[in-house]
């Protein structure tokens, strides 16, 4: 961050005016008129750059969007016809049957409810907890800085394994409950480190100035650091939310017999497993054989899973796309 920014903040802070927390697009004093960006003459280099950039983006979009369109097309295609392959971005034999299968899934409402609940709760609590941890660990004078950080960094690379973890949860009476989705995975060293990096980028002078004025650590955390970290909070919130929304393995391991805690993803996974050609052999003598349901159900299930995230995303997008905040200082 530049000198310029520091001084502005320092002035604001030392003036004792703590009520107005620095905004996300820090550095501009909102009482001064926002300078209009001067239009500079575009050099040839600039133009070439712009053109190349646009070409690159178009190419990128085309390559990236194809699998989505393909999945969408398959999901609207009749299952038996889909087996023949050769479908690209337009369904060959239109059918809503795949979506019917997905929505006719038993336990759909329970699963949906539990999934939403765990996503919301897990994200809020997780974000809060990770933020505090990152905050603590980013304070320069913190006595246990190195040990606490190392303690958590190591956890990213070691794992007791599926069975010891299962036994632990059983002992703690977490299995067959809702809270097994929220409590165990709260803290992630990855989240901590990303947020710590960001918090360390915030000038110390802010903290020092505030503390000189008698602000406690919680005030620093809530009123100074957090508002500046909004993009990171949004990012981490997104990661946690997506992680919660997509997980099904924990449902299977810990709540297999508790149908009231089933999640949407797990129900979809069950639906897909009866279809999957990757699964292990059926008993050859059963006479059932690989009697697959239409494979396109997999595509429909994927679209159904993606849809809520895609709907949620625009609310968060302003944090990820620079230029959307400029000019709009506070919401």
């Amino acid at each position: 961050m530049s000198e310029f920014k520091n001084e502005t903040e320092l002035e604001q802070a030392s003036s004792g005016d703590m009520r107005r927390a620095p905004s996300a697009s820090a550095g501009r004093n909102e009482y001064l008129p926002v300078p209009k960006p001067t239009k500079y003459k575009k050099s040839v280099g600039d133009r070439v750059f712009t053109v190349c950039n646009i070409v690159f983006m178009v190419l990128f979009v085309v390559i990236t969007v194809y699998p989505i369109l393909n999945t969408l097309a398959l999901s609207f295609n009749d299952g038996i016809d889909a087996v023949r392959g050769g479908i690209h971005i337009i369904p060959r034999k239109f059918s809503l049957n795949n979506y019917r299968s997905v929505f006719a899934m038993k336990n759909l409402t329970t699963g949906l409810f539990i999934s939403v609940a765990r996503t919301v709760l897990g994200t809020l609590i997780g974000l809060f907890v990770n933020a505090i941890l990152a905050f603590i660990v980013s304070r320069k004078r913190f006595l246990l800085k190195k040990s606490l950080t190392a303690f958590w960094v190591v956890t990213m690379y070691v794992n007791g394994g599926m069975i010891p973890t299962l036994l632990l949860y059983k002992t703690l009476h977490l299995t067959s409950t809702f809270w097994v989705y929220v409590i165990p995975g709260l803290i992630s060293a990855f989240n901590m480190l990303v947020m710590r990096t960001f918090m360390e980028g915030i000038p110390d002078s802010l903290e020092e100035a505030a503390q000189m004025d008698g602000a406690s650590y919680s005030t620093v955390f809530l009123k100074i650091v957090s508002p500046l970290c909004k993009p990171m909070y949004a990012t981490i919130a997104l990661f946690i939310a997506v992680g919660q929304w997509n997980s099904w393995f924990d449902t299977m391991l810990y709540n297999r017999l508790s149908a009231q805690y089933t999640t949407l993803q797990y129900e979809l996974m069950k639906l897909l497993s009866s279809v999957s050609s990757q699964s292990s052999k059926s008993d050859p003598n059963s006479g059932e054989g690989a009697n697959l349901q239409p494979i396109s159900v997999r595509s429909a299930a994927t679209i159904v899973t993606m849809a809520p995230i895609v709907c949620l995303y625009p609310f968060l997008q302003k944090y990820f796309v620079a230029g959307l905040t400029i000019g709009g200082v506070k919401e």
Partner: protein, 576 residues
Amino acid sequence: MRIKAKRLGACALAGTMMLTMLAGCGGSSNDDSSSNTGDSSSTSTSTSTATEAGSTASGDVKEFDMFIAMPGTEINDDNEIQQIIADKTGVKVKETWLTGQTDAEAVGTIIAGGDYPDFINGGDAMMQLYDNDVLVPWDDYLDKYPNLKAFYTDEEWDKFRMDDGHIYWMNVFGNTLGESKTTTHNDEAFWIQAKVLEWDNYPKIETLDEYFDLLERYYAEHPTMEDGTEIIPYTILCEDWRYFCLENAPEFLGGYPNDGSVIVDKENMKIVDYNTTDTAKMYFKKLNEEYNKGIVDPEFGTQTYDEYISKLSTGRVLGMCDQNWDFNFTITDVFKQSGLDQEGCSYIPLGLVAEKGMENRWHTYDDTLNMSSGVAITKDCDDIEAAFQFLDDLCSQEIRDLRFWGVEGVDYEVDENGLFYRTEEQRAKWSDPEYQASHECAYSYMPQYHGTSTDGKNANKPEEQTSEFFDTLPQPVIDVFNAYGATTYPELIGSVVEENGPWFPMYSYSNNMTTDTPGGVAWVKMGETKHEWLPKVVMASDFESTWSDYMDAYEACNPQDFLDEMQEELDRRAGN
């Protein structure tokens, strides 16, 4: 902040949803249906010793749960036929299936977690359950439940005895009641499209040479389909565990039955390794030849199962070697929908052999007793007697008809001769997945019979009912049957009709092997080596040198350890 408000809003929404949910659908898992009247009487006049299906004590329906280590679909909680069966027997079983794990992982997690379902079928991981003392021994209960006991003869029951002398599970498949009504060949074969046979006026194809010769001649005249897509004369699937399509043909070509992992030389009671016989070398050499001629699909080494099915379903592939259940159910549906079956694209099985005139044993006539897995009852079951009673009830004709044919008048009709049949509409409904979930309840991994019903006329399974069978065959296939003078697929293949030895099938032992024994380690290594080398051998430009490299790699796995262990098992099984 607007964002915080949104978050709070979401919280509030979740909260109100929670309240309405609890109000609305709380505790729907305990149905107490008190409608348990009913002795269902089942009059039996035929040879089986079926007695009355157990009458229910008045009171609640008992609910058990069952885990099956195979993929499958859960049925709805309010499934109609499940309820009917529950009314008659007093028991409902909630089945859960394998999801996203291998059977070994799933069973391992269940054991580690310590919460066992009442019934369990561990698939290939059955031994894990036994090793960990999870299962209830059957011996003391069998005599009390005659229907159940009658499922197998005493000798057959003995085959399920484990080292400690007790029986812990039973395999529910491959058991024929009364007269066999098998119409399909649900095993391995070399397949060829009906139209190719028709083109050459239905010749008798017996050897690999004749087979490939026919394919070559047809391909020379028809390099593409009518719409211009290229024809693939022969393809091979060798993805992951499905590579049996490539690797175990030598066993059958040598005229031996499906012991799966080895050949049993009956005369000398010796185990023979089919991977290294002369027949094996001849077979791969032939494939190599055909590959170099361009007859074999160049992509066979890398295609996935989905791609393979997709190729077959376009009707482009003239022939391959595969197990019926691996492809035919899906392909038949696709051909029916796209009309390709009327054009002769349906696949006909051929029982090829190494030399003309040899006997073939591609088709297994008698029942295959696969002792390696089956349905078992765990120690967590709180009412073992009721569980056994239910198994017993499931063996009765009436319940089985409900499971496989459905409800009379709704799912099937009875004609004036007492034969069951289905209308086109009923057939369509029966295969609709939603109808399956809401109405059908097959308890597919519970005891069941093929063959003839106790009424002496009908088949136990609709697909074996002669009328159902012929009505669903497309014309080109019927022409094939007529040309060769057969009325069923097994007749077409013409395998030797014989009973297999008491040791059959040996694959039930090799399926259960683990790396605890040197034989098990060798088995895994052999599998890995074959996966790597067999495609190379087929694609090689210099067959002899690649084959000898393959043999070197194969020998390095110590296959003798494996063969020795199988020999021990053979002696043990035969000696009994």
